[in-house]
Symmetry: none
Subunit: 249 residues, 2 copies
Amino acid sequence: MSGSSAPLYQQVSAAIRDQIVSGHRNVGSMLPTEHTLARSFKVSRATIRKAIRGLKDEGLVRATPGVGTVVVRKRPQKRFGYLRTINDDLDDRGIPSTIELLSATFREPNDAVREHLHVEPGGRVLEVVRIRRIASQPFSITYFHVPEWVGVDPEADFKRPVHEYVERARRHFITYGTDRVSARSPTPSEQEMLEIGEALPVLIVRRTSFTDYDQPVEFVESVIRSDLFDYVVTLPRKPDADPTEGGQS
Amino acid sequence: MSGSSAPLYQQVSAAIRDQIVSGHRNVGSMLPTEHTLARSFKVSRATIRKAIRGLKDEGLVRATPGVGTVVVRKRPQKRFGYLRTINDDLDDRGIPSTIELLSATFREPNDAVREHLHVEPGGRVLEVVRIRRIASQPFSITYFHVPEWVGVDPEADFKRPVHEYVERARRHFITYGTDRVSARSPTPSEQEMLEIGEALPVLIVRRTSFTDYDQPVEFVESVIRSDLFDYVVTLPRKPDADPTEGGQS
DNA sequence: AAGTGGTCTAGACCACAGA
DNA sequence: CTGTGGTCTAGACCACTTT
């Protein structure tokens, strides 16, 4: 109950979700009515409704007017493709890694970077190069490119995911991005940095991140040992239908 | 106008959306405060909030606590990352390709396939092997695995995307899938089939497709020349609020 | 200090499903 | 008929940003 600083509706949401996941509420069973839940949780019905809305979004329950709310799934619907960092992936797999900052300098970008970031000729970008190690073994080299106008401090420590520095510098938030995954043989310098031979391909993951205003603010190129990493994403089947737009009558 | 029967919040939502789409509210401008909107629309603030929530979901506006709500986009945001076939990709890029069916046989799957498809020991899967060519040049080899219980006809021509045969056999529809992208050096037989040397890596794309009931019905492994293909996907930043939270007890 | 969006309450009426 | 979820109101307090 109280004690937690999270909003009430999230606490209620979590409580009901736990009942479902733990098996105290079976798939196919009805939830108590919203009035009943409001009484038993000692909150208003509006708060209960906001909590249940979250469960609906997770695909755990379905509400039918005039009938009630039924449990339709024991586990939350798999989260569909959203932007994740390599850090997120490794964290999920419980793999600890360390990051070493190699350089952080302003420079004129090459044509590929310039095009991805819509940088005018003559414009500069902050290039941050980091190397990631797992158990002191080289894992990946990552090149971050951020347009100068974004205003990221080149003296930052860059120990955290770079998009955090981008978002701290501007009021804009990154809302989506495009990933391009390819593979090739490593260059001699990559072979040296990653401590691999020419026979082991590297996986190249390029990400362009965009703000609300569809403005690219970050271009990240990761060169990853292909024996230590897969790129994994879960996607829905369709662009899914529009919500109730029915202005018509 | 017109005594519409639609809920109030949808009418308000539509009205504001029209102002944005028609250009009466410019991208970058602030919406009136929720209190002001409530007064001018003559509805409660709760109704205004529900209307704005819809606009947020469409990516048209962004609300910042303590600041206000700003118009960030003139048209609803395009839908993100959904399951696409290699065929879709090539079509979008205007690249014509041909498909040759190499084999379609029932067999006992290896452990990896068995695990992905949840096939019991002793169970069989239909394996369909196809090769794709672009301008008569080999492009990719694809191995489809479908559990026998799905009932796909092994005598089909398999000229179309295989998931269509899966959905035709059952009434279930594929609603989501997981892609795993990796890279390695080609095996000798792959070098021969793809007409490449050992120095050119191959991109491996593995897809497991699931029905609404979270049941895997298809496992596809594609071996692709890395010089002719990138795996591309556009993803949103977050599903929205993070339900992870502390979540103990 | 003033103003914003986020949360929350305690009521109310409605359309619809089911006995 | 009763009970359900869906909608709506008119207040309130909060954390936060900006002045």
